[in-house]
Amino acid sequence: MNIIRTVFIRGAYLCKRFAIRPYNFRMLHLLALLPERASKVALDVDTVFWVVFWLSAIAFVGVVLTMLVFMFKYRAREGDEEPGEYITHNNAVEITWTVIPAVGLFAIFFLSLHAYRRLKYPESVALTVNITGRQWGWKAEYPDGKKLITGTIKKEGPITPKDFSPILYVPAGEPVEVVLTSQDVIHSFYVPEFRVKYDAVPGRYTKLWFQALKPGKYPVLCTEYCGMWHSRMPALIVALKPDEWERFKSIDASTFNSTFASMPVDSFLAVLRLPDEEFAKVVGAQKKAMASMPLHKRGELLYQQLCSSCHTTDGSRLVGPSFKGLYGKMEKLKDGSTVKVDENYIRESILDPTAKIVAGYPPAMPPFQGQLSEDEIQALIAFIKTLK
Amino acid sequence: MESTVLEREHGTAHHPHVDVGVSGMKMGMWLFLITELLLFGGMFTVYAVFHSMYIADFKAAHHFINVRIGFINTLVLITSSFFMAMAVWATQTDRRRLASLFLGLVVLLGLTFLFVKLTFEWPEKFAHGLNPGGEEFMRFVQEGHVGKALFFSLYFVMTGFHALHVLVGVGILFVMLLFALRGRYSSRNYGPVEVAGLYWHLVDVIWIYLFPLFYLIK
């Protein structure tokens, strides 16, 4: 009895907490089978889905009803030990119910080919972005050098799209191509509302494309099991209005990367929607701040984006050693030798983590060779130095 | 009560005799051989894929292969297959001592094959660091010639699996040799020898495919 009570109490608590009032469940919404159609190709995909659905429903109801009718009409009455009628086969019937379903099935195949072609081949491409999957987050790089990085949501409490960080800002109404790869294991880039998905495979490039129908925020979920935090590396694609997109394009890459890239979505959107003067002021101010931002502050931003999922700053152990008191420490390595943590050691550990692994830790860190500039590495070192 | 070989062969006291005959035994062995073909087929597929991806590297890797030893081993196996066929014939025609002799020769040649591989060929490769994880192997990877490294991974895996099958075959044939010496096989009971022969011929055939892929590729 206690368990049932607990279930109900927890359920009620959750409802209150997340304002999912039971009577507001909107039952029809619960039984909606597909999310909102937010991309150009979604209608083609959904058409196939619904055709298959209704054909299947008819077939299902037909067969089940027939079966129920037969079971009841031809049930053996009490005490009746007689066998049924001696009927063994009927070739005409067999051929009929082989040919008709075959025809139906191939009709579905050809219909789905159309949707597939639309999914694979965009008519044109307005923007190409490179996205790399990693354990456990995404990295996007624009042609002009803008970079966005999302990470892992590790909190134990429930998550919702409000917790997701943006991985892409794209123009609504224009075709965008994403070139995918992975730096470690296979991930998969899935945007349910766009109906697109493709695996991010290490050692090769794969592609997908989409066109957002209207501005909005669209969740991205990793859909190929990639280890411990597979379920907690979501992201958002933010489709912008034309004028917002123009604003976005106008910000130069280095300013964007060190400031706006790590801004929460809503704050950044607010910036993009400012009147011209205000906008220019904000960007100018950020440029100045970036130029005069102390090295260690820049390092801190980078730390939050790239290192915090595995290294803490408070001394506690996660996947890798904590950065607290790291600089200047005498570290014992896996091979038994000892090394003093200085600038060179930190730099090497960032670029080639498996070169000198600390004893008692797994070789789990991905190399950042080719992904961080010398400036960024120096910023990180400066930040680590501040953690006494 | 000590049950004799013949009693055990024809079913035990608590189990009825089931006789599928020589044709049944052969059918069973052919089905098993099909599974072996698919097992090696998987590896041949992997070879084919990487060969097409790294043609130049595969050819360059050949530099490290000892063709002479490979050729000797090929002769050894083909000869052993001949003796195996003779052993089957001798059993079918009740030439008991000849059959035992031929079986013994097959065992000897099988052991020779393994001896040559494990005392000359493989140690030489290990000494050069060509095994997965070895010095030369890792150098291939670092230089960007991953195809060469894959070639040697394939070499060890495929010839290794093949050698395992030779070893198992030698073991079974050795036991059969002992049985043959004690008069177990005859024209009325030659099935086991014939199906063992089928297995041994498969092992030979697989080597005949492996040989050009690793030793003759240039």
């Binding site: 037969f70 009927i87 082989t98 998550i159 099991y225 | 895996v157």
Partner: protein
Amino acid sequence: MIESKKVEREEARPYETYLDKKGLMSWLFTLDHKRIGLMYLTISMLFFLVGGLFALIFRSELMFPGKQFLSPYAHNVLFTLHGAILIFMVIIPMIPAGFGNFFLPIMVGAKDVAFPRLNLMSVWLFAIGGILLLLSLLFGPIDTGWTFYTPYSASKGLNVFIVSLAVFILGMSSILTGLNFIVTTHKLRAKGMTWGRLPLFVWALYATSLVQIIATPVLGITLLLLGLENLFHIGFFNPKLGGDPVLFQHLFWFYSHPAVYLMILPAFGVVSEVVSIHSRKHIFGYWFIAASSLAIAFIGFLVWGHHMFTAGMSPTADVLFSFLTFFVAVPTAVKIFNWVATMYRGKVRFTTPMLYIFAFLFIFLVGGLTGLFLASVGTDIHLHDTYFVVAHFHFTMVGAAVFAIFAAFFHWLPKMFGRMYNERWAKVGWLLNFVGFNLTFIPQFIMGSMGMPRRYWDYPVEFWPYHFTSTIGAFTIATGVLISVAVILHAILKGKKAPDNPWGGMSLEWQIPSPPPTENFLEEPVVEHGPYDFGKEEGH
């Protein structure tokens, strides 16, 4: 008391049944296919409960959003082991190696399988493989998913190697069984037992055995290569060493797709038997059903790429695999129509086995039809790796295969043990299983098409109602399963004595005493009619 019972039994029966000889050694070293079949059933049943328990644990975690009590690693381990255990130790072997071993020789009129000693080796390998699987937990439980995709699974270490070895050994067991069945069917049929008089269960086992012979070795070598990769870094599937992760997927699915037909074809065989006997009517379309088993086995080898539509194959390959996948739906549909037609003008009895057949047809229809959404490339891209796929394969593998397993148990239990089960409680178990099953997996279809990915330890809160309902369903199934297992155990130990032919079947197993004599037949069987000739003589 036991003494007098034994005397009474021997007086009543002048022959030895296969259960009479006692002692552990007589079981461990038996050459009797019936005992071997029972050992398979027992081992499988134990692993069924273990795999099911794992599901209950992670479904409890998933009942509410956010962390409840499992760490992400523990959750990932549990779904990996749930899949590996249930697929390799339960669904694949239970019907063919369990019921097949017991009944195939009897159904063809033989005293045993073609190679009884190989059969004993099969079950030993089966037990060893199962033990190795469990032993691997000692080296760090694997969390790779039962599909072992590389490179994630290629850099784990000894635990993956041990699991690879375990699955390889289980594969050997599977191959030997298939080999035995094929030779038995060809060589040991009794006088008068033509191919056209074989029960359809035998045809199903034959088709299954062909798949076992051809598909299993490929999985064996693939996993062995994966194991070697973990130990020696040979690099075939590791891009850093020049290898290709997608190559692993091709090799893996080349077996694992036919494997699903390994799981379903024997179940189809059970359905043919039960639907005919419990409707007391000749099966409709005997040759079409037999041929469709072979067709499914064959086509099943051509469609593996439909697991990889988002993996990196060329569009040509995508389209080809999609096209071929639609083909396999045709013989499957034909079977369903034939089974339903069998009930037409029959005398249907609402026994527990028949209820499981009804449930099977209902559930397999859903499973098969939802496969169409996945066969169409366009929709598959949206649905791949979501809970829609999870629901689809649970409908086909659990709803169909497991329900067929229960049907087989209740249908053949009287024959295997000479005892009857309690109909009322068996039906209670059936109801809980059927309702619970739908409650568990229908919400999964919905949340899948709404975008809920699979193998997720936690999910956005919006998916909560579906997960909640699904977990309630899981506990319902658990109750149903426990009740059903209890009914079966009670029947075996204390059930009322059953007549030799409680259902009035016409295949050979129903013409011999229950439980069967050690040598199956008291006199040499001569077959003069087919196994489904109900109503033939009377000219109905």
